[in-house]
């Protein structure tokens, strides 16, 4: 009974609460608000700290609002913080991150969606075996694959290029994305597929004309997951590229981990928030679509 048709999945399904100020309601909202405080606390602390000057931070209270708001840490994090001898902050990494992000997201999602489609509608002998291997692959710590990947990229002549990094992101994004697409396409009524087959439609025709137009929610989920994962990636970005194409996270690491005397917590926090801004905006903006997509893709298991 886990089949879910995406269109029907928005409305709450729980029992209807009765009165506005019943005891149950007070407990319910009370709990939710308490839990929200726990979730919001770090964000609050990061924002407040990033708006304080260093003297105020040394005085101690991390939860207090700044007595004197300063945007200097943000300016410094974006355009002045030093990593090694380059003192141009995070700004140099932003463009690189975008250049890495877009092709990686496009390629990985394209491939995973076709995989998922083939796995759910065009099973062939061994397809489940490959899929199982792929899922086990999701559990392998990336770091142990560093050297094999280095050898692979060297043989392909892609080491050090953005193309190589795109390939790596595609490979490591494949397990979870394929799982999502496979589950989603499996939940689309088989009758549609069979009818198209009877009409003589082939593999690609069915994919582009029937499956793709119905797959918007799961594409949203895939895009969100990939944007987050690739944008936040440090390890692959630093190993499979070179300084001219380092993503923003490498600059973040350099700013946060190179302590110049005392730790400049305010600059670190501003840098952290700036780096996290892109995925954060996507999360807050996509809200309902994400749940809808998850409902469609993850639930079938």
């Amino acid at each position: 009974m886990a089949d879910i048709t995406p269109g029907l999945s928005d409305g709450p399904r729980g029992p209807k609460p009765k009165k506005a100020f019943s005891r149950a309601n007070i407990i319910l909202y009370g709990t939710l608000i308490m839990v929200s405080i726990y979730y919001l606390l770090p964000l609050y602390v990061m924002i407040m700290t990033s708006l304080k000057g260093m003297p105020e931070i040394r005085m101690g209270n991390v939860f207090g609002p700044p007595m004197e708001i300063t945007f200097e840490p943000w300016v410094k994090a974006w355009s002045q913080a030093c990593t090694g001898i380059n003192c141009d902050g995070l700004s140099r990494g932003f463009g690189n991150s975008v250049r890495i992000l877009i092709p990686s997201v496009l390629l990985s999602i394209t491939i995973a969606s076709v995989n998922g489609y083939a796995l759910s509608n065009w099973k062939f002998k061994g397809s489940e075996v490959f899929f199982t291997i792929l899922i086990i692959g999701a559990f392998i710590p990336y770091q142990t694959m560093l050297y094999p990947i280095v050898i692979l990229l060297r043989e392909l002549g892609l080491m050090g290029s953005i193309g190589g990094l795109v390939l790596v992101h595609t490979i490591f994004g494949m397990p979870i994305l394929t799982l999502l697409f496979r589950n989603y396409f499996a939940s689309i009524p088989q009758e549609l597929f069979k009818a198209a087959r009877v009409d003589g439609a082939g593999f690609w025709q069915i994919y582009f004309q029937i499956m793709l137009p119905m797959a918007l929610p799961i594409f949203v989920v895939a895009i969100i997951l990939q944007v987050t994962g690739i944008w936040n990636d440090f390890l692959f970005g630093v190993i499979y590229t070179k300084p001219a194409t380092y993503p923003m996270t490498v600059q973040l690491n350099n700013i946060v981990n190179s302590v110049q005397g005392i730790k400049e917590y305010n600059v670190n926090m501003a840098a952290t928030l700036l780096t996290g801004l892109v995925p954060l905006i996507i999360y807050f903006a996509s809200g309902k679509l994400f749940v809808r997509g998850i409902a469609a893709g993850a639930v079938k298991g």
Binding site: M1, A2, P42, W122, T144, G276
Partner: protein, 305 residues
């Protein structure tokens, strides 16, 4: 949940099986290559070299099981797997419980549902490095929670998990749960939305209480949702590394070391690839042991249905 074992039901005229379903096979080439070349190939390569004395560069100077003997006699490895055991079991149980409870709360036709949902989900957008730093800062005894509570007049208040070897793992847990529960909550919520309204009506008619309904009726119906969640949580736990590095660096002492960190540090800092590969092979074995029952449940169960 029916499976089309072979969509080409009509008898094909082509004699060779290889060409049956050709386009699907061609389209699956990227997946097959990834599975075979990267995951199987890379893993086999790792396992193979775990029987060598490779140092900085992979070499085929075979040493048998030496690396494994050393691994299991190392204090640090034992501490690492114990820590992962504690963190993993707490994280698994708590993530499922918290994720489900929050989803159940949100599913009760509340106001501001999307605001709450965004609040619970946003930490997932942040990397573990950011998560670790933020919580390191909040748990810092000189600036964070402890000093604030002391400032309120409770002078003897002690909350310093990150600098105490006995509690540091729970300090990691606080941060890990913060980052990971939102996604599970979302998945659970999606699962709850998939439950038919009629079920609720029926249980109300039968006079079954709300909480009992969740436990007895709803959770068993959400088995696939729990399995997906389990895969996501478990794969995150076993890869636990960035959070530790950012939040505690494995300290104090070796108190918050984890296996992935052991692997990486022995591969790169100690330049003992063989030792790192032996440790990652052990991690892989545990994954396979966990995954085989899962694969059986998934695919074995399907065939019956």
């Amino acid at each position: 949940m029916t499976v089309i074992s072979d969509p080409l039901m009509h008898p094909t005229k082509r004699p060779r099986r290889l060409f049956k379903n050709l386009m699907a096979k061609l389209a699956s080439i990227p997946m097959i290559l990834t599975a075979v070349v990267v995951f199987v190939g890379g893993t086999a390569w790792t396992v193979l070299y775990s029987f060598t004395g490779s140092r900085m560069l992979p070499k085929t100077n075979w040493v048998g099981l030496d690396q494994y003997e050393r691994l299991w006699s190392s204090d640090r490895w034992i501490i690492s797997i114990t820590n992962l055991g504690i963190y993993g079991s707490c994280s698994l149980v708590l993530t499922l419980v918290i994720g489900f409870s929050l989803a159940a709360c949100l599913d009760r036709k509340i106001r501001f549902e999307s605001a709450f949902r965004s609040i619970f989900l946003y930490p997932f957008a942040l990397s573990f490095v950011v998560t670790g730093l933020a919580w390191q800062w909040i748990l810092n005894p000189d600036f964070g929670l402890q000093s604030v509570v002391r400032g309120w007049g409770w002078e003897s208040f002690v909350f310093n998990p990150l600098n105490d070897a006995n509690t540091v793992i729970y300090g990691l847990l606080i941060a890990g749960l913060w980052q990971g529960t939102g996604l599970i909550m979302c998945i659970m919520l999606a699962g709850l939305r998939g439950i038919d309204e009629d079920i609720w009506k029926a249980t109300r008619v039968d006079g079954i209480g709300t909480i009992k309904t969740y436990i007895v009726v709803i959770i068993p119906m959400m088995r696939p949702v729990f399995i997906t969640s389990l895969v996501l949580i478990a794969s995150g736990i076993i890869k636990l590394y960035d959070l530790v590095v950012a939040q505690t660096g494995g300290g104090p002492g070796l108190a918050s070391e984890v296996p992935a960190k052991y692997v990486i540090e022995y591969m790169f800092r100690a330049q003992n690839l063989g030792q790192g590969f032996a440790a990652s092979t052990m991690m892989l074995c545990s994954v396979v042991v966990i995954m085989i029952p899962w694969a059986y449940l998934e695919f074995g169960g399907r065939k019956r249905g």
